[in-house]
Amino acid sequence: MTPKTLTLQDLLRTDFAPGGGTQEYFVNMGPQHPATHGVLRLLLKLDGETLRQVIPVLGYIHRGIEKICEHQTYRQIVHLSDRLDYLSALANNWCVTRVVERAAGIETNERIETIRTLMAELERLQSHTLWWGVFGMDLGAFTPFLHGFRDREELTQIFEDTIGARLTMNYIQPGGLLHDLHKDFAPRVRAWLKDFGTKVDEYDRMLSGNLIAQKRLVDIGALSGDEALGLGATGPVLRASGVPWDLRRVRPYGVYDQLDFVVPVGEKGDCWDRYWVRIEEMRQSLALCETLIENIPEGKTMLVKPAAKIRLPEGTFYEELETPRGIFGVHLHSRGKDMPWRFHFRSPNLHNLWCITKIAPGARVADIVAMLAGLDLIVPDMDR
């Protein structure tokens, strides 16, 4: 009697996957993985090389900031917001400041608002240069990392001149700014902006024009506008999907209503669009900064005594603004004390993250790195 022969397909069908088909298995990505930029853990359900499902597991850096905020005065909360999305620390500061100022009825002057806008735009450039460098590194090109970080470092030093800190600024505070601008600030920023104009073109030559990079980005991880809205995505991720939702234009704050810029949008919402939207945003921010730096009015930079206690009336307040990664919002529930009853952050990264559950299934496992890099996630902001 001849022995029964089997093929590999039979084996897979019979022994491992009783329902037929190939076997699905789970692979852990993170919490310590160089491409997750921190401690994000993704459970990937794979069928061979194909992704079937992505389950994000959060909480590896959940520090309970919202609980700590309930025990801090409004001025102290500003410094905690630095530690959420540390690459847009100034925008976070500004949002907390805005909600407190709005609730307390503090009026600011034109100089303060202009400097805040300028700083936020510079930080957008700083954040995008870092993203660009890391994006290149995630795709396997190390040179962008060096270039992006080089340009970022110069901007960091400019910030350090004025603010005194490199990353966690605590600069925009209720009632004004921590310091006035340093005397070298304007000339240094002008020189940097002039220099950076050529650098963005360099970026384009180096990575955007690179066919290998294009091949890894185009048509990978497409997300339609309706899906992005339903998933709560904001910022460049939403705009890349074709929805030009930019709070700087839709609901202007600071001095954005006096500025003119266009909103870059994508069409398909794939990784390429997300990449290009950010590159184009750099160019727009560059032009904004060039306008702003020439038009800083005179005035005081701190209107409230720093040691003065801020008490807010009872009520729930909300403010939101556009950080480099999307809409950062602050809910403040006050009971009339000098500390909030409940403080809640609407973090853009937490909402952008869920796009990965939509765009990843069906793609190859190697593409998930490009998708993650395109979403530009900051994990401590998600976990809070």
Binding site: Q32, G38, Y60, I61, R63, I65, Y86, L146, E153, L167
Partner: protein, 224 residues
Amino acid sequence: MAVGHAEGPGQNLLLTRLEDVISWARSNSLWPLTFGTSCCAIEMMMASGASHHDLARFGAEVTRPSPRQADLLIVAGTIVKRMAQPLRTLYEQMPEPRYVIATGACVISGGPFIYHSYSSLRGVDDVIPVDVYVPGCPPRPEGLFYGILTLQRMIRERAGLKHPEERRAPVTAALPEGITKQEIQAEMLELFEAQGRRNVHEEYRRTVSDPGAKGAYPGRGERG
């Protein structure tokens, strides 16, 4: 400072010299693990990868994503309860001899999250032994370099070939500015006396001669 275990019994000149060479080589080829959880990780990246600071000048630019290939763990960013277990696993996967630098207030003591937080660890030395503490929030890249230079000094002066696991914590080697070793030692003796221990000096000497004695060193966590 005395070098290695040169004055210990049973050690000859050749071995001592070899130890020196190996320690020197070790200290100049630290391979850090790419491990960062939050803000300090950005400054660590600025220090290690970016061109302005460039960690490569210390032979430590080969950041490795795998703990099996790394011997320096720079803990950059808050560690919460949930991350403590993976961190310990990472540490245990690293080959000996391994070194740990704790950067930033969160890692050293909990920093901004020390009070009222239900999940942040208050000091990573509850989980893994730490060799060098670099304060800052986050420390500037030069500050991290100083930490790495401090670690290199520790490796050159302390880690022995015969006792790779016994990495004695030289409390009094890197001192804050304006403070002498004698001041610290006097402080310790005073503390011992204040605790009402008998034979203070003898106890002090015993703990020095027998570093492994249980309860001799009221430090946090184990060393090794």
